[in-house]
Symmetry: C2
Subunit: 209 residues, 2 copies
DNA sequence: ATTGACATTGAACACGCGTTCAACGAGGTT
DNA sequence: AACCTCGTTGAACGCGTGTTCAATGTCAAT
């Protein structure tokens, strides 16, 4: 029954929440105007009254997701003073990885959008921004590492190091999503630690097989 | 005009090639029976005569791609004897990364399939197999590293180390695809090298900021 | 009370998709 | 020459989609 009900912002939010529920359940492939309208308990017409098109809904949903759920939280909390920079970076990586793996649903959706972004400029921009923000979480620790050993990282920037961390985590994410039973985050982190922080005794001994 | 023309295998191959051309141009979203038929110069009916359904075509195309193009080549070439295992692994990683970045088209398509695989069991199986084979390329070097310093990698397997390498490369792939102008493979590799192979002098000096 | 703005509805439209199928024609076989 | 097999065609069907729009009801202002 037609009639005024909720102010625009409320309706929009209701519909966005419904859209997210649908997308979390059926992914972007199952996100149709009718499905969202049904989930929100409104008509298709109303959905397109508040969002000018399905495309608009898609973009607004991504925006909403990025600001409401993914990768929020206490990003830049520093470790206790005296922690070696490498250990600090590893802590950040470990925390982020654990956090990511707890949100499979959202990460899968994010990758749906990532693929969509390949063809959709507006969405690509949003995804890029999100990943750059993500990478930035590693910058402080990365910066500390580089300024501790400038000669070791000659020619490299904190961004480069942060990018490598982001790549590692993103790769872990793709592996878990594809094959959750086979990917083991703890072992991956342990491997990374063993690779990056060498046991002091072995650093000077070039042992041929 | 109807009539007999080519033996089954030839027609199938023609159509698969056409399908790949379409997919490389318009991605999986643009891969329709009509588009492929037009590209192959045959009728829609013939396409579904040789492939029982679009789904079958999709699966066969992925199979064809995996065996014909992606990640083939001289995987297991050993480095000169005496190369330290870590250096060997880094060489393999570097080569694979470079190889991957040269095939953006195919990698993008592969990710399309990866997303599809989230919902499509048969495709998921194929993708998993491909990624496991990919990971296996790192195993020999990873094994050498671990057996050189068993105490350093205690509790870890060559698979774990190979998985970390694969994660790094896959993460690099997602970054390039999303943002080719910003991702720099050389700097990423240089960063990885600096992280993993420490300068001997710095290994014993815990320098607080 | 009357009006006007506007949120809301759901039927209808146009389009593209995967799939079906009766008809057709070029071989090989008899 | 007649026949059969089967690769081949393209029109047609059914379905699901995004989008439009005239109609409707509610609320605030007059």
């Amino acid at each position: 029954m037609p009639g005024r009900k909720a102010p625009e912002s409320v309706r929009r939010d209701e519909i966005l929440r419904a859209a997210y529920r649908v997308a979390a359940r059926d992914r972007l492939g199952g996100l149709t105007t009718r499905a969202v309208a049904a989930e929100a308990g409104v008509s298709v017409g109303l959905l397109l009254f508040h969002f000018e098109s399905k495309d608009g809904l898609l973009v607004d949903l991504l925006d909403w997701m990025l600001s409401h759920t993914i990768v929020a939280g206490e990003m830049h909390r520093r470790p206790p003073a005296g922690t070696p920079p490498i250990a600090w970076l590893l802590i950040v990586v470990e925390r982020d990885l654990a956090h990511l793996l707890k949100q499979r649903e959202r990460v899968e959706l994010f990758y749906d959008y990532w693929v969509l972004g390949t063809r959709h400029p507006v969405i690509r921009r949003l995804i890029r921004r999100a990943l750059h923000r993500y990478r930035d979480a590693f910058r402080p620790a990365a910066h500390a590492i580089i300024s501790e050993h400038p000669e070791r990282y000659a020619g490299l920037s904190a961004d480069d190091l942060a990018g490598v961390c982001a790549a590692f985590i993103e790769g872990c994410a793709t592996q878990t999503i594809l094959d959750p039973s086979r990917f083991n985050a703890e072992r991956a982190m342990a491997t990374l630690k063993a690779l990056v922080v060498p046991s002091p005794s072995s650093a000077l001994s070039p042992v041929p097989l």
